[in-house]
């Protein structure tokens, strides 16, 4: 039993509410990521689970056992919550060797020496650091320190692992590699993990579920694909990638096969159907999200297919990005960014059409001003 449950958990610093009534349940063995811009309250949430920060409202339970309840002022101190934690700064103790760092949790628990030796080496092997056991901790690179921090968090087989931006201090390449490695360890050990990051691609690549936070509140919880495809509001939509967000208003709304909701919307110089999360009434303002990778450029005379949306405009400028080329097209409805083939023939000033399959267009309520 190692789930983590947060019920209406809040934390305020004076008048400022850093975490506002967060409800979340992390199931056993699940990998859940808290994602959001810097300062949105992710770390504070994680630290409340760890017991390093006191929640000013709500209740936190680990494995069905309440560890902190603001109403009854009940708190289990950090050291008795049996959680493993990896800090953003790694917090590797510089006065100890790698071995002693990893052995610390076992020594605290007064395990016999032989067992300590055994478990530490096992944990170090897991993160491929057994060769460095006798190194003094300051003589490690960032990536190695990170591995040691993970080994230290795993060595006493905690119920739950908490990680606060563990990859943010690594360079881009190492970040990808360490992330994948960590995910495979986590799957192998079946460890419940709560992971904090502000990096959307990291969150999507690693998580079973992503929790998007903004200004202390949960915006959306869901599988990475779902959050990417079907954001519930403009904030979440704008947070992932660089989508085109086009203002429009609803003309009609209907339910179609599979319980999906389809709208007919009209914007400045374009109209057509798109999908939405909830039923809306005609005349309501919406923002239609179109991802650059779903759009394609067609010649000025192109005619849209049956299930496509179409914008007409001219190319404003292009940026070569390696695998693709970003083409920016000025249309009546606004500028649209399209991921086009890198070596296509696009000249600034060309008249073109932008075509998007209607299944890739997603409407959320509200306009730009309202967000």
């Amino acid at each position: 039993m190692s789930n983590v449950t947060l019920e209406k958990v809040s934390r305020s610093f004076g008048d400022f509410v850093a975490v506002d009534s967060v409800d979340l349940r992390v199931e056993e063995g699940e990998f859940v990521t808290l994602l959001g811009p810097s300062g949105c309250g992710k770390t504070t949430t994680l630290r409340m689970v760890a017991g390093l920060e006191q929640n000013t409202g709500g209740r936190i339970s680990i494995g069905n056992e309440v560890v902190s309840d603001a109403a009854s002022k009940f708190v289990v101190p950090s050291e008795r919550r049996r959680l493993g934690m990896v800090f953003q700064s790694y917090a590797i103790w510089p006065h100890m060797t790698v071995f002693e760092n990893v052995a610390y949790p076992l020594r605290v628990r007064r395990r016999p020496n032989a067992e300590v030796q055994d478990l530490v080496m096992r944990a170090l092997r897991l993160v491929e650091m057994e060769r460095f056991a006798e190194r003094p901790a300051p003589a490690l690179s960032g990536g190695q320190q990170q591995r040691v921090a993970i080994a230290r968090a795993l060595v006493f087989e905690p119920k739950v692992l908490l990680l606060d931006e563990p990859l943010s201090n690594l360079d881009a390449k190492l970040r990808l590699q360490m992330g994948d490695e960590f995910r495979s360890i986590q799957k192998r050990l079946g460890m419940t993990s709560l992971y904090v990051t502000h990096d959307q691609s990291e969150a999507m690549a690693l998580s079973d579920r992503v929790v998007v936070m903004d200004r202390g509140r949960i915006q959306q919880i869901g599988a990475p694909e779902e959050i990417y495809r079907r954001p519930v509001n403009r904030t979440v939509a704008a947070f992932f990638g660089t989508p085109n967000l086009l203002d429009a208003s609803v003309e009609s709304c209907r339910r179609i096969a599979g319980g999906r909701i389809q709208l007919d919307v009209a914007g400045q110089g374009w109209r057509g159907p798109c999908d939405a999360a909830a039923e809306l009434t005609p005349g309501q303002s919406v923002t239609v999200m179109v991802r650059p990778e779903d759009a394609r450029i067609a010649g000025p005379d192109a005619v849209r297919g049956e299930h496509e949306l179409q914008w007409t405009g001219r190319i404003a400028h292009t940026i070569f990005r390696g695998p693709t080329r970003s083409v920016f097209v000025d249309t009546e409805g606004g500028r649209i960014n399209v991921d086009a083939p890198a070596f296509g023939n696009y000249a600034i000033g060309d008249n073109v059409n932008v075509l998007v399959p209607q299944s890739a267009a997603w409407a959320v309520i509200g306009h730009k001003e309202a967000a």
């Binding site: 101190p77 050291e79 800090f87 006493f156």
Partner: protein
């Protein structure tokens, strides 16, 4: 695109002043001949301030007669040093310094932890209060404690006897305990100032990680916090130990009357209390103390080599402080108690003492302002006051300028000879004031008559500059180390000459450090006793010497008055310092 349009505005040239000085500066800084002259000049000045008195000590220890008297070279001085008597003195010195360093360190750790890592109320104010004793001239608290803890008429004993009806005294400051106690009042805030930033700057994640691993608070403190602090603590403790060996006031006031001798008072006595003065013995034992200190410094150097942990992170938040609950009032009270005992009690004694007719008799009808009148109409007081102020202002300024130049040469240039310069400037760091005083005493006496330094204010000024240079170099070095080279190069690229560059860097950017160092030096000069007492003569007494003389004559009442006046000066300067340069106080 025009490049010149991108340049920041040139520094406004000030032709009249800078043209002349600038040419001079360029000549000094940029040409190799000028550079040679500059280095030679600097080496000469520093040599006179540190190497000269040191070699005069050596000369004196090998020469049978006092300065200026014909004599012969022999080893009698060292023969006197290697006696049972001197061994006891040496053991006393080391023992007392150890005895005060260890409890002081523990108390300082406790205070640093309370004020840096807990939620004790009013920590900012408390920090100012517990560090205040460090800034009070030791001679004042020594005299105040002499009055408070006098076994016959001390206020504490009077109160104790009045309450309990006992006739035995509660405390006697004229004892080992008294010496240690008085030293501790300075060691605790000194150590606190040295270690508190290490406590403050530590990444709280390192402690939190231990908690997450299952360690209790106490275990975390023991195995993580304290271990991480160890290099800083060791360094501070050794420094405190060295200062304990160098200490003069505490053993002079509380040790000597009880027959407890340490090296510094031994040097003083053999020159001032014996007839004829034992110069050769004094210089020989001065050398012994120097060797002792050198060994300590070398030991420290070896011990701390490569043992400093970078635990500071760039995290924005002040480290999470520990919530103490109800206990935070206890920690608050503890800090207040320290302040009361080390500041309120002695200062209160001086205040009371200054208003009563006779020291030790506190009755309402004995209240008087006579002592204030006497002091304010005393020529000797005003002369001491003038001398102290003059020496403080001029001495602190010159020392900071010298330190600024030495630090500049050693961190900012690649000049050959800069290591030598740095080394010579550091040399007095190891020299107790009394030893430097003896060295200069010989040195000035041996100068040709055309250079009349001996027995003048110049003698004191030079000694103060020498004593203060290591501090000023340290302060300015750390200031320069924080300034980026770009600033300087940028300034020069844009056409400022060497002197203008120096000027801008010194004044515009390094001035906070300059001011911090200046105030510390001013404090240092105001409190200096051990060198002054050897180098003054009639007409060049400073306040601390005036106090000593009054004390020796048994005039505790006027001592109290002058003590109060100095105390007010200390408070005013300290207040200004905290106001103006709040954040830089850790630069000590």
């Amino acid at each position: 695109m025009s490049i010149s349009a991108e340049l920041p505005p040139r520094p406004v040239p000030r032709p009249s002043l800078f043209a002349g000085l600038g040419a001079f500066g360029r000549a000094l800084g940029a040409t190799s001949a000028g550079r040679f002259i500059a280095i030679a000049l600097l080496i000469a000045v520093l040599a006179f301030l540190s190497v000269y008195p040191l070699s005069m000590l050596l000369y004196g220890s090998l020469h049978s007669t006092p300065p200026g008297v014909a004599g012969e070279f022999n080893l009698d001085g060292y023969a006197d040093v290697f006696t049972w008597q001197s061994f006891v003195t040496l053991a006393n010195t080391v023992g007392i310094s150890l005895a005060k360093t260890i409890p002081s360190l523990m108390l300082a750790i406790l205070l640093a932890w309370i004020l840096a890592r807990t939620d004790t109320p009013m920590r900012g104010t408390l920090e100012v209060l517990v560090t205040l004793p460090f800034f009070i001239p030791p001679i004042l608290t020594a005299m105040a404690w002499g009055m408070l803890g006098n076994p016959q008429v001390g206020l504490i004993n009077q109160v104790y006897q009045w309450i309990t009806g006992s006739t035995a005294p509660l405390i006697n400051v004229y004892s080992y305990g008294g010496v240690v106690w008085h030293m501790m009042q300075y060691s605790v805030p000194f150590l606190f100032l040295l270690i508190v930033d290490a406590f403050r700057a530590m990444d709280p994640g390192l402690e939190e990680a231990a908690r997450m691993c299952g360690a209790s608070r106490w275990r975390t403190f023991r195995t993580v916090t304290l271990q991480l602090m160890m290099p800083a603590l060791t360094g501070a403790a050794i420094l405190s130990f060295v200062r304990g060996i160098e200490n003069f006031e505490s053993p002079l006031f509380f040790g000597s009357p009880a027959g407890i001798r340490v090296i510094t008072t031994d040097i003083y006595d053999s020159i001032n209390q014996r007839s004829p003065p034992q110069y050769q013995y004094a210089t020989a034992i001065s050398f012994v103390i120097l060797v002792l200190l050198l060994l300590v410094v070398l030991a420290q150097w070896r011990m701390l080599k490569g043992r400093s942990f970078t635990t500071v992170t760039g995290k924005g938040y002040s480290p999470a402080v520990m919530k103490l609950g109800k206990w935070r009032w206890f920690t608050f009270a503890l800090c207040m108690l320290f302040f009361v005992v080390t500041v309120v009690l002695p200062v209160g004694q001086l205040l009371i003492g200054s208003f009563f007719q006779f020291f030790g008799f506190y009755q309402w009808d004995m209240l008087t302002l006579d002592h204030y009148r006497a002091v304010f109409s005393s020529g000797e007081f005003w002369r001491g006051f003038r001398n102290t102020m003059l020496l403080g202002l001029v001495g602190a300024t010159l020392t900071m300028l010298l330190g600024g130049i030495v630090a500049y040469v050693s961190v900012r240039t690649r000049w050959r000879g800069r290591m030598l310069i740095d080394g010579m400037a550091w040399l007095p760091w190891m020299m107790p004031g009394i030893v430097l005083g003896v060295g200069f005493l010989w040195g000035f006496a041996l100068l040709p008559h055309a250079i009349p330094i001996y027995g003048t204010l110049w003698a004191l000024l030079l000694a103060y500059i020498s004593l203060g240079t290591p501090l000023s170099v340290r302060v300015m070095t750390s200031a320069y180390a924080q300034l980026s080279y770009d600033l300087e190069e940028c300034s020069r690229v844009h056409g400022a000459n060497w002197l203008q560059t120096m000027w801008r860097i010194m004044i515009a950017l390094a001035w906070p450090a300059f001011a911090v160092g200046w105030v510390l030096l001013f404090f240092g000069i105001m409190r200096e006793l051990s060198a002054s007492v050897l180098l003054y003569s009639v007409g060049s007494e400073v306040l601390s010497v005036v106090l000593m003389k009054l004390w020796a004559n048994g005039n505790a009442e006027q001592v109290s008055v002058i003590g109060m006046i100095m105390m007010v000066m200390v408070l005013v300067i300290r207040w200004i310092q905290l106001r103006l340069i709040k954040t830089r106080i850790g630069a000590l």
